[in-house]
Symmetry: C2
Subunit: 331 residues, 2 copies
């Protein structure tokens, strides 16, 4: 972490002095490192893909940064208080960020610990499904949370995070058609751009920890992702800076999470209603052994989906796979 | 498991022919092993503490069995359908049966897998507390369950198991003053004789697995256990056969668990009421940051404890540490 911090500070300094050279002496003075240390870290950064010009008697200049989600790269400009502040575990390739984060949580890693990877060989989706993780073209991130909340409230963490993804994407991209398909998918123009997988270790009356896993298709192309999916690049026509997005995402998750802890589900509920891809639509919900159809009319005070199932009767849905039924055009 | 099965069958055969010799030839015929195999297993059993007489031209006789919870020893006479039927992992010493079972469950061990130990070096209690595990004087057992149930129903597993412990103890010991202190302790004459720790891995809408951990003070003496505790031996004045008790316990857990899955919490609820150490008494319940006092008047249809808190008002308790208040004698 010490080395990461040093590298992070050097990157920040380069960014502050964009496009101009900084002398080794100035860097040494500002950072409080020896000039030899500055040179050592510059070499390390070059090895990790940073293009840094070094000119004798002039100094150093950052020419370009690699598109890698190194911890210190995320930290540069991160505005959170807790998330990412302890340790960001970076992997070029990993089986699953959720599996890794779950193990770290079991070993006692604190709230806010983050696992991030460029690609996952067996990224996990809900109900044992897979998440395809094109290399360096998405955000594959898991966050350890240790909420003091009742077990039956845990599903709200998923909803809070889904809203946070939408806010973060809107902060970074010019996109308006991004919505939450209750409870854990984010759709862009009706296609899946992000999935959330919340995993829990608990006792009946206390939560040990939650691993919040988020997969976002950022710069993936059509051939990279499964049918029915899309990416932010495909939707906006532009490359999206993953680092900007991940920093915004962490900030928005933290905001949602602390709002919930202070003020309960009320404010989140309103946002769930606003951002919902399903309210007002006819949906069918697949559960273990049955399918329920109806019109989605509300998100209740606990985060459940309320369906109108005919004859004025309503039914609360706590879990299941929601499909929005195609609109029938009557002529 | 094959060797365990063979040893189990030999023990069963010895038990069937209690106190008489069986010829190697008869054993070989009944078991379908060669006489050399019979001799091989007899030697193994002797190494594990079984006293087996072998007389030339007469045969073998089991003189005594060790007081060890070997898997095949549990299997001999076990009447369950699922619990213990796949694998019983036996340890002379382990950190915690729950920790081990949790790892096995994560690796995919099926429902009914059991971990049992003679002693635990860091046995786990609820809320991070310790469970003291005197060597070979108790039952320290964890069971992997994979129930298809909603997360908010999981606390019923603890209640089902608490009832099962009481039934199992009553099957084996002549004890009437054994009761459940909601939700997870078993008391004998007001002193703790058993604790239950249920640990869960889940997603908000599905349970991956439950590890049900049970610690029972069986033959422990006063100096073996913490103040406020007791053992079945201390209460009955007699040594209790741990093997009989663990078999009865597994059978009773299975009965409760399958009853619940077929018929819901209704029948369990009635039993919870009958076996409760707290109903009808004034109690105080410590929760995260508060203490609630009142008279415990019922267990509700979801397993919550219902308190009468004055002025006819009631409050449902979903979690917390319950203390029964001392009866005030008014003169």
């Amino acid at each position: 972490m010490k080395e990461d911090e040093a590298k992070g500070r050097i990157i920040r300094l380069f960014n502050d002095k964009a496009d101009s050279f900084i002398s080794g002496e100035d860097m040494s003075a500002v950072l409080g490192f020896s000039r030899a240390s500055v040179w050592k870290y510059v070499k390390k950064l070059r090895n990790e893909g940073y293009a840094i010009d070094a000119v004798s008697n002039v100094g150093y200049k950052l020419v370009s940064s690699p598109d890698k989600m190194y911890g210190y790269n995320i930290l540069t400009g991160l505005e959170t208080k807790t998330l990412g502040r302890k340790t960001i575990h970076y992997y070029a390739k990993i089986v699953s960020t959720n599996v890794q984060a779950y193990e770290l949580a079991e070993e006692g890693s604190p709230e806010g610990t983050i696992v991030v990877a460029e690609t996952q060989t067996a990224g996990k989706g809900r109900l044992g499904r897979k998440w395809i993780s094109p290399d360096s073209k998405g955000i594959y991130l898991s966050v350890i949370l240790r909420p003091e909340m009742e077990l039956e409230r845990i599903s709200t963490i998923t909803l809070i995070s889904a809203n946070a993804v939408v806010r973060a994407v809107k902060n970074i991209c010019d996109l308006s058609n991004i919505e939450v398909k209750w409870p854990n998918d984010i759709l862009c123009g009706g296609k899946k751009v992000c999935g959330i997988l919340t995993e829990i270790k608990a006792q009946p009356d206390s939560v040990d920890f939650v691993v919040l896993g988020i997969g976002i298709n950022v710069n993936a192309l059509e051939e990279d992702i499964p049918p029915g999916g899309t990416s932010l690049k495909l939707e906006t026509g532009q490359r999206v800076d993953r680092m900007d997005l991940v920093r915004s995402l962490l900030k928005e998750i933290e905001t949602g999470y602390t709002t919930f802890q202070k003020n309960g589900f009320g404010p989140i509920r309103n946002e769930c209603r606003e951002l919902s891809a399903v309210l007002g639509k006819n949906v069918s919900v697949s559960q273990y052994t049955s399918v329920i159809t109806g019109k989605a009319i509300d998100i209740d005070e606990n985060g459940a989906l309320v369906l109108e199932i005919g004859n004025g009767r309503t039914k609360k849905i706590f879990s299941g796979d929601v499909s929005v039924e195609k609109v029938r055009i009557e002529s």
